[in-house]
């Protein structure tokens, strides 16, 4: 079996008395889209933050592509990337300047060619010279996506990738991400509240509640297990504590 892209063991994070993440363990296989689901305060963002090295865990271990994130994060960070509508990019820089900056930070070879390729794929040609702050929400999402793909990441972490986008643009982004994942065999870890997105993109779903991993499975498996017809209903069942007792223990 191929080495997991992400291997998390006994991961915990306490903020004072508050347990944000309480001993979760899971692994993510390469070349898969995995969704991380949970209500507000479930611990998704903190878990993502720990995987990216932004938050130091209280206990546990994280290996990304075999690299210990607590000891040598930069070795893994060069092969991953991240996008979130809640983490902005410098508005006064043009899209081209942004991509040049991040391309250099990630050590991308043939950077000009890579930017031209992304501009073609993401329809950014007209926008390259425009300041990021002057773009519409949809254009910003495409520019941010270009930044997150600049280094051809083997692991892409996405936080609400289609939040605030109209359905058409959202659909376009989902199709593009799926195509990228298939073409490059990349793994995508997706935190989202958009259940349609999860059903369409993810082949594996991790469900968190109150800092614990309460269930895991493919969308089809979860629908069958909870006897629901949509992932939205599954999400509500878990968020409202209607998870089956046998599944309320941490899931590895």
């Amino acid at each position: 079996m191929a080495e997991p892209v992400i291997q998390v063991e006994g991961l915990s994070k306490r903020f004072g008395e508050v347990v944000a993440v309480g001993g979760v363990s899971f692994s993510i296989a390469p070349g898969m889209v995995t969704a991380l689901l949970g209500g507000n305060g479930a611990g998704k963002t903190t878990t993502l933050g720990m995987i990216m090295g932004l938050v130091t865990p209280t206990a546990g271990s994280i290996h990304v592509m075999g690299v210990d994130m607590l000891k040598n994060p930069q070795a893994a960070l060069a092969q991953m990337n991240f996008s979130s509508p809640y983490v902005d990019l410098p508005g006064r820089l043009s899209v081209e300047q942004l991509l040049l900056t991040y391309g250099r930070l990630y050590g991308v070879r043939g950077l000009r060619e890579r930017i031209a390729e992304l501009a073609r794929d993401l329809d950014l040609g007209e926008l390259l010279k425009r300041r990021y702050s002057t773009l519409s929400a949809g254009q910003k999402t495409r520019a941010a996506l270009a930044k997150s793909l600049i280094n051809r990441p083997r692991l892409l972490l996405l936080d609400e990738p289609t939040a605030s986008l109209d359905p058409d643009t959202g659909d376009w982004v989902r199709r593009y991400l799926s195509a990228y994942q298939e073409r490059h065999g990349a793994a995508i870890l997706l935190a989202s509240h958009n259940m349609v997105e999860v059903e369409r993109m993810a082949c594996d779903v991790l469900m968190m509640q109150k800092g614990r991993m309460v269930d895991r499975g493919s969308p089809a498996e979860l629908l069958a297990r909870y006897g629901r017809t949509t992932m939205e209903d599954v999400f509500l069942a878990v968020a409202r504590g209607e998870a089956m007792p046998a599944l309320s223990e941490p899931v590895a």
């Binding site: 994070k13 090295g53 932004l54 938050v55 930069q74 983490v87 820089l93 043009s94 900056t101």
Partner: protein, 271 residues
């Protein structure tokens, strides 16, 4: 892709270019580089002219030109510190820090890029003001020769030491500490003996001044301008203190980065 000295140099260069793009595209930021040094030169230049033209002789007549030189040298230290902190704050204001911190950029590389950007911004701001002082007020800091280069270096490095420690505190405490960036260095001004000898300070203030590189530089500047003597002892002391403070400042920055990741503050600042 991320390792080695060349990789570090490339990432530091990327950050310097990022700030170059930012400044190049903003008239307000370009103007800000020149504005305050020029205001200082005009203010102290006219004060110096007024003193010189009021019929004073001896020490006071000499002191007139010393005032403008002192104002210019103080501007080097202040520009160095504030430029470093402005570059750092730009990342917080644009909510870009999260992207940087999940890139292969190491915290010490971020610190190095802030030093480099600070140096460039300081030179860009200082050069026109000092040249204007030389041509319009006939007071040239460059007349101090090689000693000026050593003064410049010491003051820039002192600004870095203070600036990087303050950046660390903002990283740890959050934007609530932003006020420190604007105010802290002015607390050192009275003790640095910019416009007067340290010897007129009370004993306990002199004791503190002995540990300020800026106080050594301004004493050294007066020794050159008033006595024509280069005080290498003062320059050496300033250099030793600066090495210690720069190391301390970087240590504070790296410690605050670590504490900020531990407390989850870094993620909040990055969003």
């Amino acid at each position: 892709m991320s390792g080695g000295i060349l990789g570090s140099a490339r990432r530091v260069g990327a950050m310097v270019m990022r700030h170059y793009y930012l400044i190049r595209g903003s008239w307000a930021r370009i103007l800000d580089l020149f504005y305050w040094p020029m205001v200082q030169v005009l203010l102290w230049g006219f004060i110096s002219q007024f003193i010189a033209s009021s019929g004073v002789t001896g020490f006071l007549a000499q002191a007139a030109s010393v005032l403008l030189s002192a104002a210019l040298l103080w501007e080097i230290m202040f520009r160095s510190q504030i430029s470093l902190n402005m570059s750092f704050l730009e990342e917080l204001w644009s909510r870009n820090l999260g992207h940087l911190m999940v890139s292969p950029l190491r915290p010490w590389e971020l610190a190095l890029s802030l030093f480099a950007t600070s140096l460039i911004r300081t030179i860009i701001g200082f050069a026109p003001a000092s040249l204007f002082a030389a041509f319009y007020f006939d007071v040239s800091v460059y007349a101090m020769g090689f000693a000026f280069f050593l003064f410049f270096l010491n003051l820039v490095v002192m600004g870095w030491g203070i600036g990087i420690a303050l950046a660390g505190i903002v990283l740890r405490v959050g934007m609530g500490a932003e006020g420190l960036i604007w105010a802290f260095v002015f607390a050192l001004a009275p003790l640095s003996g910019i416009y007067y000898p340290v010897s007129i300070l009370p004993g306990w203030c002199q004791a503190i001044a002995a540990f300020l590189p800026s106080a050594q530089v301004f004493e050294g500047m007066r020794a050159i301008l008033l006595d024509g003597a280069i005080r290498y002892d003062l320059l050496g002391r300033a250099a030793v203190l600066n090495i210690a403070y720069l190391a301390g400042g970087v240590a504070v920055f790296l410690l605050c980065d670590r504490l900020s990741r531990k407390s989850g503050r870094l993620m909040q600042l990055g969003e």
